[in-house]
């Protein structure tokens, strides 16, 4: 009886049922038009804009903290007279500001913008999502202020205070996640595009690992194991997933062709979902934890070759033959570089999980280069690409200055290449020096100095790029419709990143 009385069995719903069934057969017939997409964008507009605004503030704050931390390697007494500006406080404050302030807040915005479009339904509970973003950001602010005051949990990536800050982060993420999952439940499509899998899975994953990582019940080596269970999964099951979802959504749309192999994209997602969670223990190679745990982690890390190569091939083949499109679209340029960096950092991470490589690179500046390749060149560049694509659609006008886009791209791109090459090379040399018993430890420190100074120079370039980007976003928001130039930079289809006045 329950089945007979269900809404689906009612005669008045027959047409709707047929439409849903047909939608499984031919998706090309159910494409949304521009007006429908604009309506969906409108449903998520406020929380997305709020998220981007707060994220940009964090980007600037986190960058400043990173610069201070970097210069302390070159000039150890720099700002050393104030306790709250000592390296032990500034460095974790930089990491937390970038991971939880900038990246996570921007990822909330990106996922809230994508889900209504992918599910073909307005964002559900937008007020809850807005509240979630606010609560999360209050938590991060409290946590970082406490960090700089000397209150820390003392675990890498988990430094934020687990009484005053962490509960707010959990509540905030749960509120945004509830909006995401409610939207998913209200979807008007049968098939879930691969980006939906990535985005929807990210929220329960971050909730589970964040709560588990912050429980104050672990001691000794168990605490270290849980610490890296969290740290690595925060990268792979949170920061990676939403950005891969974004790239899988925007890359085909900008280039104008579907993803090369949808099947490969699913292999990439399910491979990550099934293998990734065991990877974290490879950070503890040589540490006092059971050898089976290390061996399992190294095996899982090597298995990650499957999803990583699947994603890499798929994204490369989607854009193959159309790299020229990067001259026109800054969003695409950032997304392609991010996609390439994902493949590079993942393969680098798999290599680093091997004992022989780890012996050299562990405890060196290589690790910082590796983490910036992942957290910056993949995650941050992907978010830049997303913001370049999304903001004009929500604000209703184009970016005001092509020159500022070029400057932003060149500064952060060049800066990051210098950063990764300098610290990567310096890190390997530092590791080899430390392994040689004939070389005193002090010599390995001296040898690293030029590389650290180069890193600080790169950090300044990147910081200038961030200031330009934030100022440009502010200009976009503040300029009224009437002040939009007659020929906005993107109206006449011409290269944006490379000057070519002949093309019009």
């Amino acid at each position: 009886m329950a089945v007979e009385n269900s809404p689906a069995s009612r005669p008045e719903n027959a047409v709707e049922n047929a439409t849903r069934r047909d939608s499984v057969i031919d998706h090309s017939k159910i494409r949304a038009n521009v007006a429908q997409i604009a309506l969906l964008d409108r449903s998520s507009r406020f929380p997305v804009l709020l998220g981007f605004a707060l994220a940009l503030i964090w980007l600037l704050e986190g960058t400043l903290l990173g610069d201070i931390a970097s210069f302390k390697f070159d000039f150890p007494d720099f700002l050393g007279s104030q306790e709250y500006l000592t390296f032990g406080r500034v460095r974790p404050a930089h990491l937390n500001a970038m991971v939880y302030g900038w990246a996570s807040t921007a990822m909330f915005a990106v996922s809230l913008w994508m889900m209504p479009r992918l599910c073909r339904t307005p964002l559900q509970w937008p007020g809850l999502a807005t509240g979630g973003i606010i609560v999360w950001n209050i938590g991060v602010y409290i946590g970082i202020i406490l960090l700089m005051a000397g209150v820390t949990d003392g675990l890498e990536w988990l430094e934020l205070d687990n009484v005053m800050a962490d509960p707010l982060l959990v509540i905030g993420a749960a509120m945004v996640g509830a909006s995401i999952w409610k939207t998913l439940a209200a979807r008007n499509v049968e098939h879930l595009y691969v980006s939906v899998w990535y985005v929807a899975a990210s929220y329960p994953w971050i909730a589970i690992i964040f709560i588990a990582g912050n429980l104050p019940i672990y001691t000794g080596s168990e605490s270290a194991a849980i610490n890296w269970f969290y740290g690595h999964n925060a990268l792979g099951l949170w920061l990676t997933t939403i950005n891969l979802g974004l790239i899988y959504y925007l890359l085909p749309k900008i280039v104008g062709r579907p993803i090369y192999s949808y099947w490969l994209s699913l292999i990439g997602f399910w491979g990550l979902a099934l293998f990734y969670s065991l990877n974290g223990m490879h950070h503890l190679i040589g540490g006092p934890i059971p050898s089976w745990m290390i061996a399992t982690s190294i095996t899982a890390s090597i298995l990650m070759v499957i999803p990583v190569v699947a994603v890499g091939i798929n994204q490369h083949m989607t854009i193959a033959g159309r790299f020229g499109a990067m001259r026109y679209s800054p969003a695409l340029t950032f997304l392609v570089l991010a996609a390439m960096s994902y493949t590079a950092v993942s393969l680098q991470g798999i290599l680093t999980a091997l004992v022989n490589v780890n012996r050299v690179t562990h405890f060196t500046h290589w690790t910082i280069a590796h983490s910036h390749l992942g957290l910056y060149m993949f995650v941050t560049l992907s978010l830049f690409g997303g913001i370049y694509y999304i903001l004009p659609r929500l604000i209703g006008r184009e970016w005001p200055s092509a020159n500022m886009i070029r400057a932003h791209f060149l500064l952060v791109g060049l800066g990051m290449v210098i950063y990764v090459v300098a610290l990567g090379s310096g890190g390997v040399m530092q590791g080899l020096s430390m392994l040689d018993p004939a070389i005193p430890f002090e010599a390995s420190v001296e040898a690293a100095k030029p590389w650290l100074l180069t890193r600080s120079f790169a950090a300044v370039l990147i910081s200038i790029g961030h200031v330009i980007f934030a100022a440009h976003a502010l200009m976009l928001v503040l300029r009224g419709r009437s002040s939009v130039p007659e020929d906005p930079p993107f109206f006449f289809v011409r290269p944006v990143l490379v000057r070519n006045d002949k093309v019009r």
Binding site: R31, Y193, I209, E222, F229, K253, A273, P290, A331
Partner: protein, 82 residues
């Protein structure tokens, strides 16, 4: 040492088992069928018919064959693909 490993094993299962269940759900609900059609789901109406200035003549003719006569980049047309 094994006692110290229990939390990691439990957490590994908590993270790893739900994807298995969702994978089973996806298989039962046809999420692995009509894959080519699903890959077109993200495109808006006529989004694939807009002329992309970077495309080579062969790529343009391929697009025309697949999606019909191409639409020129009208004023405000940038919004559709850029």
């Amino acid at each position: 040492m094994f006692a110290n490993s229990v939390p990691v094993i439990l957490l590994g299962l908590i993270i790893g088992l739900p994807p298995l269940l969702f994978l089973a759900w996806a298989l039962r609900n046809g999420q692995f069928e009509h894959l080519d059609e699903t890959s077109f789901e993200i495109f808006e109406e006529e989004e694939l018919r807009y002329l992309r200035p970077w495309e080579k003549p062969k790529q343009v003719s391929e697009r025309m064959q697949k999606y019909g006569k191409l639409l020129p980049a009208q004023r405000e047309g940038w919004k559709r693909w850029l």
